[in-house]
């Protein structure tokens, strides 16, 4: 093993603390560029917009989490004794809507993607900064409508709002919540559009497609899905709203409509949507694994193309949600086949990540722990998807807790872990501060344990037959439910800890150097936090992805000569 240039002694991995105990960055950056609430609310800087998103989705995550804990509390006992049945139905509906539309779908793209895409490709901002800000406001507008619906009584249809229950029978705020999701959808569309155009047209000189970090590839694939899929859910919501308001018979059989048609429309988007939720996380994991083993990702082009393959195949499998819904048996066969096919690219990624570890230099920093956890949990979650793709088995398992366990393994064990790992990995870059490493590792462990205890029993409950969306359940299911609730409380505590220390670190955390992990991406070649224009000089890329070069080529990009050493403590870099 050769070494990183020994002229940079390890001690400078972490910059010494600032003399001044108040927050004082040593250099001009996007955070201290202007002050005042208007400069944040009317910003066009992709990095500030990323932080705006970070704040909003965290609020929603907490709200969705409270719903989850209440649900688990109710499920401690077989009888429905904590909340009324109608209330319980609203709880799981709203948990789903909030977590999916207002947390998971935006999470990595809107926070990490917004922040990092321009940095990783060497650009000054996204292609359409104003549209980016509009995206955030659309998110807020959708959020406000949804909160209004929640405060006024909520919605109880399940996040899948199947017809005719949602169009004709439910007496809750379906239209208002639907409108909230509709508006939020445009936020998604604009973000995806922005990313695609940015990646196509704004790469730095020398940054060819196959030199792009895999994070960019997966965000590109995600953006394709966002752009193509989201309009379909938008029109579906409109149709449901119209049917509720004007009583047209598009889904109502009594008026000549077809209730199963709704399911086709709904899942045509909502299945690709789950790939919107997992692909960015996979991109994060590629970065974390390579950074924290100091190696290029094994099989780079296979991993890159697998993201595209998942995006394409993902649009062809929606019927696997309709295996028991009176869909034709032959259609079921086709969807089952393609559902197996879509699993293969994900398997390819898992093997490539594992192979990346071989003969690497592996650190146990928090981001790596999350990445390794992701690989294990996503493997289990993904393999349980095979259970569901198998037609004969899905008949027994669908609409049970097996499904709930399957998607939580992917969404929490996968997507959320990727998000947390990414937050930790890029926290120094985003905030200029280090989080406390000991607490980071500890909470990763707590989250891992809590998560498995919560959701593994649910696989067993599902095979035993416990249906999902049940407020009260048969007595023999209680033991496993109690285990699951115990796990949920541990998971809840585990998730609180990073919330606390991240906020703490913004005030008291050690100041971060430009490249605390000795990583190779372009984003590490500018200061932590970056200046508003990202790079003082446009980088010119002459190396492959994840390639380590001599130290002077990996320095912070400085104003004139391009290989200025790190600024001395206290010295500001003026442009």
């Amino acid at each position: 093993m050769s070494s990183i240039d020994a002229s940079v002694p390890p001690a400078t991995r972490v910059a010494p603390p600032a003399a001044d105990s108040r927050v004082r960055f040593a250099h001009d950056n996007y955070i201290n560029a202007n002050y005042g609430i208007k400069s944040w609310l009317l910003t066009k800087d992709h990095k500030r917009i990323a932080l705006l998103y970070l704040a909003s989705i965290t609020v929603f995550f907490i709200l969705g989490g409270i719903y989850a804990l209440t649900i688990r509390l109710e499920l401690l006992t077989p009888a429905g004794d904590i909340v009324q049945p109608m209330t319980y139905n609203k709880l799981f509906t709203q948990h789903g809507i909030i977590m999916i539309f207002f947390f998971l779908i935006p999470s990595i793209p809107a926070v990490l993607g917004n922040f990092l895409v321009p940095l990783m490709i060497g650009a000054k901002d996204l292609a359409f900064p104003k549209l980016n800000l509009l995206s955030w406001y659309l998110y807020l507008a959708g959020a406000i409508f949804t909160i209004w619906a929640l405060l006024n009584g909520g919605i109880d249809t399940g996040w899948t709002f199947y017809t005719p229950y949602s169009t004709t029978f439910s007496n809750t705020y379906v239209v208002a919540a639907g409108l909230g999701i509709f508006i939020n959808g445009f936020s998604s569309i604009l973000t995806g559009l922005n990313f695609i155009v940015t990646i196509h047209t704004m790469r730095a000189p020398g940054m060819t497609w196959f030199r792009l970090p895999l994070f960019i590839w997966s965000h590109y694939a995600t953006s394709l899905i966002m752009v193509l899929g989201t309009p379909v859910i938008a029109i579906t919501i409109l149709l449901v709203a119209l049917e509720r308001i004007v009583h047209i018979g598009i889904f109502d059989p009594r008026l000549g409509g077809d209730p199963v048609l709704f399911q086709h429309f709904f899942w045509f988007y909502s299945h690709p949507a789950v790939y919107i939720m997992i692909l960015p996380s996979m991109g994060v994991v590629s970065e974390l694994i390579s950074t924290h083993s100091r190696k290029n990702v094994f099989g780079y082009s296979f991993v890159a193309f697998s993201s595209l393959a998942i995006a394409v195949f993902g649009f062809l499998v929606w019927g696997h949600h309709l295996f028991t819904s009176s869909q034709s048996v032959y259609a079921g066969m086709i969807f089952s086949f393609v559902s197996f096919a879509v699993a293969i690219p994900s398997a390819v990624k898992v093997f490539n990540w594992t192979a990346t570890l071989y003969k690497g230099s592996i650190s146990y920093d928090t981001p790596m722990l999350y990445a390794l956890g992701f690989i294990g949990l996503f493997t289990i979650g993904g393999l349980t998807g095979l259970f569901l793709a198998a037609l004969g088995l899905d008949v027994h398992l669908t609409d049970t807790y097996f499904i709930v366990a399957h998607f939580h393994y992917i969404m929490v064990g996968g997507a959320l872990m990727g998000y947390l790992g990414g937050l930790h990995n890029w926290w120094p870059k985003i905030t200029g501060r280090m989080y406390p490493e000991g607490w980071g590792r500890f909470s990763a462990l707590v989250i891992f344990v809590g998560f498995n205890l919560t959701f593994f029993p649910q696989f067993l409950l599902g095979y035993l037959g416990m249906p999902r969306r049940y407020h009260a359940y048969a007595e023999e299911f209680q033991v496993l439910n109690v285990m699951s609730t115990a796990g949920a409380s541990i998971l809840g505590v585990g998730l609180l800890i990073p919330g606390i220390y991240f906020i703490w670190s913004m005030r008291y955390g050690k100041f971060a150097p430009a490249n605390p992990w000795a990583a190779t991406g372009l984003e590490w070649r500018t200061m932590s936090p970056p200046p508003t224009e990202n790079f003082v000089r446009t980088p010119v890329v002459t190396w492959e992805a994840y390639e380590y070069r001599p130290m002077e080529e990996m320095e912070v990009i400085g104003p004139d000569k391009g290989n200025t050493a790190q600024p001395a403590h206290g010295e500001a870099t003026k442009n």
Binding site: S325, V329, F340, L357, S361, F387, L391, G392, G465
Partner: protein
């Protein structure tokens, strides 16, 4: 296929439960194998290659086409084995056999209503005999529900406006959970029940223990009281087509196409008669949409089906004492006409020798889920 049961599985109480469990076990094995493989590799690499000094820099390794091919092709082949097995199991699950007992199921918020052809009606509890194939013809009065019996490993949604089907053959007596598993409103979790599988003699006793007229008999009463008999006479003088023996046969409708007279067509003809009018008749039949419930529709259909069975044929309680003329039995179709039902409770075989029952299969509608 009866393998030892894995822990945390429900009882195996139907003919398919064993195979479903076998497929599950196969998948559990695959999952265990790959998860353990990946986990062990991760741990092993993470320990063996842990960072030992701050300035360590490993050699980059680009990749390996051989490895990529291997770990693409092998998982794909494994996936295909799962696919084929799952698909074949699915066909079994969704192709009700022709010789099944029929039971009608109507879901509604928030209960399951059952009607046996002998006349027994039940709510939330379904009694069936062991060792008999049971076909459920199902619908719902309101929203989509889903009929699921974990011990039988079966499930099928019930959809408003159409009939869906499921079938099972119970292999163990006992009492098994029945759940509604498609969210249907406030009391979704209360829409549960039991399937009681009984020995044949016990089942017979239960059947004889009470209950009202058979669905066909009730259907006949409706047929008279709703005025159907006025136009649908048994001679050709009526303003509507003769219904004797019409079930299961193809009919030409206006516009030149043929339809098979199955449950779905009959239901449509009662609720929306103008949709497919038989050729040669005027579209004057009024719609009964809203005037008959789903259960009554099933009873009318049961009655119409009972018309035209050959005389002397032993059937399951389809008493047609309306004096209808008996024509030739219907040809076999994908659905199961009375003449084809196997009934383990009958001592005589259902098909006396010499009976002019055609065994050719003019399957116009597959006997699975009604396709849309």
């Amino acid at each position: 296929m009866q393998l030892p049961r894995l822990p945390f599985t429900p009882e195996q109480a139907s003919t398919v439960s064993g195979e479903v469990d076998a497929l599950y076990t196969y998948l559990v094995a695959i999952t265990l194998f790959f998860s353990v493989l990946v986990t062990v590799l991760i741990f092993y690499f993470a320990v063996k290659y842990r960072r030992r000094s701050e300035n360590e820099l490993p050699q980059p390794i680009a990749g390996s086409i051989k490895l990529e091919t291997m770990w693409t092709v092998i998982p794909f082949l494994i996936a295909m084995t799962i696919f084929v097995w799952g698909a074949s199991l699915y066909f079994t699950l969704y192709r009700p056999p022709k010789d099944a007992i029929e039971i009608y199921v109507v879901g509604k918020q928030w209960m399951w209503k059952f009607q046996h052809t002998e006349g027994q009606r039940e709510i939330n509890e379904l009694h069936v005999p062991i060792g008999a194939k049971v076909k459920l013809t199902m619908t719902t009065e309101d929203v989509i529900h889903s009929f699921a019996v974990p011990a039988f490993r079966i499930r099928a949604d019930v959809v408003p406006g159409r009939y869906t089907y499921a079938w099972f053959e119970a292999t163990k007596t006992g009492r098994y959970h029945l759940f509604c598993t498609e969210f249907c409103g406030t009391n979704h979790s209360g829409m549960t029940g039991w399937v009681e599988v009984m020995e044949p003699t016990a089942y017979q006793a239960w059947l004889a223990g009470g209950g009202s007229d058979s669905p066909a008999a009730q259907g006949e009463k409706l047929f008279q009281s709703l005025g159907c008999a006025t136009c649908h006479r048994t001679d050709t003088q009526g303003r509507g087509p003769v219904l004797t023996g019409v079930f299961g046969k193809p009919q030409r409708v206006q516009g030149g196409t043929d339809v098979v007279v199955d449950e779905a067509y009959l239901r449509e003809s009662i609720t929306n008669p103008a949709a497919k009018v038989v050729e040669g008749f005027q579209p004057i039949m009024p719609s009964y949409q809203g005037q008959v419930s789903e259960e009554q529709l099933l009873q009318l259909i049961a009655y119409i089906r009972s018309l035209g069975a050959p005389p002397g044929q032993q059937q399951q309680g389809a008493m047609t004492n309306g004096g209808t003329g008996r024509e030739e039995p219907s040809t076999t179709t994908g659905t199961s006409p009375d003449t084809q039902r196997s009934n383990p409770l009958n001592s005589t075989s259902p098909r006396p020798g010499g009976s002019p029952v055609s065994t050719g299969n003019s399957n116009q509608t597959p006997g699975g889920n009604s396709n849309r």
